[in-house]
Point group: C2
Chain length 259, copies 2
Amino acid sequence: MTAPLGRYEAVARDMLAAARPLARQHFRTPLAVERKSDLSPVTLADRAIERAMKQVLDEACPGHGILGEEFGSRDADARHLWVIDPIDGTKSYIAGVPLFGTLIALLEDGVPILGVIDMPILGETWIGRAGEATHLNDSPCATTQGCRLSQATLFATSPDQFAPDGLADFDRLSRACTARRFGGDCYSYGLLASGHVDLILEDGLEPYDFLPLVPVIEGAGGVITDWSGAPLTLASTGRVLAAATPALHREALEVLRQA
Amino acid sequence: MTAPLGRYEAVARDMLAAARPLARQHFRTPLAVERKSDLSPVTLADRAIERAMKQVLDEACPGHGILGEEFGSRDADARHLWVIDPIDGTKSYIAGVPLFGTLIALLEDGVPILGVIDMPILGETWIGRAGEATHLNDSPCATTQGCRLSQATLFATSPDQFAPDGLADFDRLSRACTARRFGGDCYSYGLLASGHVDLILEDGLEPYDFLPLVPVIEGAGGVITDWSGAPLTLASTGRVLAAATPALHREALEVLRQA
């Protein structure tokens, strides 16, 4: 690890300081909603926030690459790559639901070494740094220990996010758990890092959705991988499994492998 | 209308003042979760809050009846009946998600004349009084006008809440809308009253889930009925359709009738 993580965390905090007023300013105001080519919604708020975050990066880390949800990538082959999602949960944002978040990852040689989940309305910020304890605001946080699969509640944002074969896997894993719950986007991962949520299975995510989660989950004692148990990278397929403990993650992987 | 609504609203506010500290005190603390006979979860927080609200009612309105989620009914045939749900969205509450709410309705001769949706963590309180404008905190609020079904996003708490025939209806209505979104419990109805959500279809609700919503939705310009378009009463089946406008409600009813 060669990155000066403290300095990069300060950059991420500057990005949040630029992003939050914009997220709050446009929240619950009438917003024109466009549909992107994948039919996901986008508003001027998404774009204004990403632009503001990029401006911070341009000044603070001019040699670094950037991959954003709305404007694509720049210098994507740089050793240090920032991966940002200005509003994760745009559907929530449009509906006035405060469960949307701003996500930031910093990759070094392709590995996420810094991850941020920021909830602008709720005032909750999870920051994960590789090899260190994840913090929620100013306090370290940790996942719940000892939860077995049969006691777990399984979280996903929506059944509609799964491809047909993935939905069958999700249903099978649901039946191995005690209950399931929908909604949440990135917030469920923050709650997992803080010990309130045990298990999440999602499909159809993009690198800017899942790479920022990796240091947050791992620094809290959890495990986050793709559905085969492999680490999440820029090349991952968008199928994400997150669990509070290695044991729970293994139990869930076993059920997924029964396909 | 003979009820002194202002006085009864003050009683409801006293109930909230007793309920909120308990909801906040137990939020994100380790709670034993029991399963009721219908497998819905309940915690000591649900019970403590309902007990505190009943105590306020016993002192303020000794001649009134009470129907609560956790402890059943008392004097259910009284002319005035309070219908209360201490924590609507117990699954959210257990998972540390602040989208749970406390619900209060006052029925006069079976008709909801006062309705309250209170979000203890988010600090948002919707109060509806029959024949008057609904308020969010201290400001009047209103539904969005002019949304057509083909532009609407359909909300429900979970696909798992629907009986099989109801799920077919929900899927058909989903296809007539632009998108659908899960999660939310009572909060979606508050957001509908404030103009952020257009359409909600739910199944499997109980009187304490839906009766408090009626004055809130109606006083904001919306329409809330069962799936046949009939008013919601203590005897309703738990199938609820809420829309921002009468026109949108009619469009949705037409799709439901195509079964």
